[in-house]
Amino acid sequence: MRAIHDIHGGIHPPDRKSLSRPGELRDAAIPRTLMLPVRQHLGVPAKAVVAVGESVLGGQLMAEAQGAMSVPVHAPTSGRVIDVAPYPLAHASGLQDICIVLETDGKDEWRLMSGVTNWRELSPEALIERIRDAGIAGMGGAGFPTAVKLNLGPARPIETLLVNGTECEPYITADDTLMQCQAAALIEGAQILAHVVGAGHILIGIEDNKPEAIARVEAAALEAGANIEVATFPTKYPSGGEKQIIEILTGQQVPSGGIPADIGLVCVNPGTAVAARQAICEGRPLTHRIVTLTGEALARPGNVMACLGTPIEDLLVEAGLTLGAEQRIIHGGPMMGFAVSDLSAPITKITNCLLAPTLSELPLPGPAKPCIRCGHCAEACPASLLPQQLYWYARAKDQEQLTEHRLFDCIECGACAYVCPSQIPLVQYYRAAKGQIRDSEQERKRSDNSRDRFEARQARLDAEHAAREAKRAARKAAAESKADEEGADPIQAAIERAKARKAEQDKTP
């Protein structure tokens, strides 16, 4: 039995997970049009390689990766490309970005795919290549390109592959459902990833509010054999943060500014492991994902396997959405998700949940009252920060103090704002402050650059000037020494030369 370590802080919000009946998975209908953003991951957008009017098959490459920090996009079904243009995305700021719009033909024809079963005989590099080509980005929410995460090099030896099945956000049951329905695939996926990073040990962490998932994964792990460990731990938000689950299961902390690999761990989401298995064993790219549709504004909440690019509206209408007054549609969970502004925006590789709460279910926050420094936020903070001090400094725009109080170690989990009796939107202040600090850092870098350039130019000009001077001085010295050698006055000689030339000119009119 593994020792379970407690993390600082944390909260116990009502989890509301039974609402979406974890463990039951249905297929969402293929919508008439799919909108596939060329960037569904963290990093450089992919570049569309299909033209408008072109017919594509399911699994066909539609946008190719641009460099290392980029992943490709594939067609989730067969159809015809009808547009490649900017459309609104599910984004906190309502941004638009290039989407490949696919008119589906309903036949769902797929290109031929071939996987390998002897992956143990393939080199990590070859497997990473296949994972990259399958378009896999972290499916827990950040969308970090998985191939980059796995490509660590010899400087960071990995002991343990950690599968994060915590899913600590209230409402969301996508990972729970995946672990229940695809436990064997999850285990094989984890084995592939462990093989890739050279980890001898696989650790699967699941919060104890998912007994069914724990049972299924434990059974599958037992069947797969040695060195796979399933660890359960008490339910608390935000235990599923990468840094938090690592401390819970190992007692170690990821160094500030570092990554888990610094302490010999690689941490992945269960969905990512299953996607990796599909890519390797079936040759199937990432084109679908499980999405939790939940909230009391839905008549038929549940988990669906949906095509990436399905408009949010299609999924919610299918789940029986009744729009209420002051309706919010939250992409992600109630603690860290963001409210979408356009229902036509599509789901992407990072969409684990669409939450449609009623007003009585999740009331809108009232006006913020003054901070009374009660300290509940500091008690709730999983990073052991002092949220109220950060709040004061954020209001004062005191960037020095914000950095000194380690604003950038904030994981924006929202526990502080959840417990705040004054209902201050603390996380919003931190996000804004982080943005401002990044901006001024950029500004500083720019001015440093300009100064460096100016100084370099000045130095170059000075050097050229000095070189010219030196040349002139050398010439002068040479002339003087020559005059000295001839024993004549150089000026007198020059005058005579000039006179001679003049006489020469006078002679030849």
């Binding site: 919000p13 906190a92 309502g94 840094k243 401390e247 007692g251 170690q252 902390q253 160094p255 500030s256 570092g258 729009l323 002051e326 309706q327 919010r328 549609i329 939250i330 992600g332 109630p334 603690m335 860290m336 998700g337 963001f338 409210a339 979408v340 502004s341 356009d342 999740l362 009331p363 809108l364 926050p365 006006p367 009252k369 003054p370 901070c371 009374i372 420094r373 009660c374 300290g375 500091a378 008690e379 999983p382 990073a383 052991s384 920060l385 002092l386 001090q389 109080h405 380690r406 170690d409 929202g414 704002a417 959840y418 417990v419 705040c420 009796p421 004054s422 209902q423 939107p425 996380v427």
Partner: protein
């Protein structure tokens, strides 16, 4: 159709400022009840009169400052300030004493700094200290406890509030006064000699402190504040008293039990120094904050000019709170040295 766009988190907990303040007010009830039993309705009259005044004052000032006066009054913080001040004032204090105290607390202690959350000092203690320095005679008139003097009735009390003099013999020395004035008696002899000091910490005072301790324990249970500051103060006060006891001679500083259960000890530990706004913010900081208050309370009680010392100790430590905060930042995740 328009969707509402707000930032995360979208869920929020049950805590509310007004609920916190309401709990603090409720927690004073046992203490106030016991005070009323032993000293009569004087404190009750203080609280009601002072409370009405404070609410009116807060309403007027926030309206003048262009804020929402209803919101300011409805968070109940001004009632907490006035109630705590009025509990600290002597029962049967004249009306003008209460008026000056409440106005000082609300205006000078709180509103000039910007209202709730911005005051560097505990407003109730600001009001109390101004009165103590300005009107030492009135402030030292404490009522005799039940059995050692007449306990006035409600009507009598109310009349006395506005026409002082209606109640005879309203003054008596508190146990802390007696201890300070003691020159010749051994500590144990002092306790048996003076009728006011029977029991462990004086007639009535022991029970009053016990009642405030009970209220404080309930607030701890409700997680309104953490245990750090109160426990640190009580431990520091006990340790100081143990060291200064010197076996109970006539020069003795008094026993730890006496200090814990006399005067305003428990009231201060659970209702005054736990004011979040003016105290240190981290748990480690609150330990230091509370311990230094405990030490200062003892030193001023035994060596200083005033029989009780809570208000001064609290204000001095309010000064120090930002300094303490600076040196007690908790270790942030990922910044501690690597584990073995």
């Amino acid at each position: 159709m328009s969707l509402i766009r707000v930032t995360s988190p979208h869920a929020s907990g049950q805590h509310q400022v007004s609920a916190v303040m309401r709990d603090v007010l409720l927690a004073t009830l046992p203490g106030v009840a016991v005070m009323t039993y032993f000293f009569g309705p004087g404190t009750l009259a203080n609280i009601i009169f002072g409370g009405a005044l404070a609410v009116g004052c807060e309403y007027a000032v926030t309206a003048l400052r262009g804020r929402d006066p209803r919101a300011a009054v409805s968070d109940l913080s001004v009632l907490v300030t006035s109630t705590l001040l009025c509990i600290a004032l002597p029962p049967y204090a004249p009306w003008w004493l209460i008026v000056i105290g409440v106005l000082t607390a609300v205006l000078l202690g709180k509103q000039v700094f910007g209202g709730l959350g911005y005051n560097p000092f505990n407003p109730a203690m600001v009001g109390y200290v101004v009165l103590l320095i300005s009107f030492p005679v009135q402030m030292s008139h404490w009522a005799p406890p039940l059995g050692l003097g007449d306990v006035p009735g409600l009507v009598e009390t109310w009349q006395h509030l506005f026409a002082p003099g209606g109640i005879d013999a309203v003054t008596a020395a508190t146990p802390l006064d007696l201890l300070r004035q003691n020159t010749g008696l051994l500590f144990d002899d002092l306790l048996t000699e003076r009728a006011e000091l029977s029991g462990w910490a004086g007639v009535g005072w022991f029970e009053v402190n016990l009642a405030f301790l009970a209220g404080g324990a309930w607030l701890l249970y409700r997680r309104i504040f953490t245990w750090h500051a109160p426990i640190a103060m009580l431990v520091a006060l006990s340790l100081s008293a143990l060291m200064g006891y010197d076996g109970g001679s006539s020069e003795s500083g008094g026993s730890a039990l006496f200090h814990l259960f006399s005067g305003a000890t428990m009231f201060a530990a659970f209702f005054i120094i736990t004011d979040p706004v003016s105290s240190a913010v981290s748990n480690r900081g609150r330990l230091i904050f509370g311990a230094l208050i405990g030490l200062l309370v003892y030193l001023i009680r035994v060596l200083g000019n005033y029989p009780d010392a809570v208000a001064f100790a609290v204000l001095i430590l309010n000064f120090c709170a930002p300094f303490i905060d600076h040196y007690t930042q908790p270790t942030v995740y990922g910044t501690r040295s690597r584990d073995p």
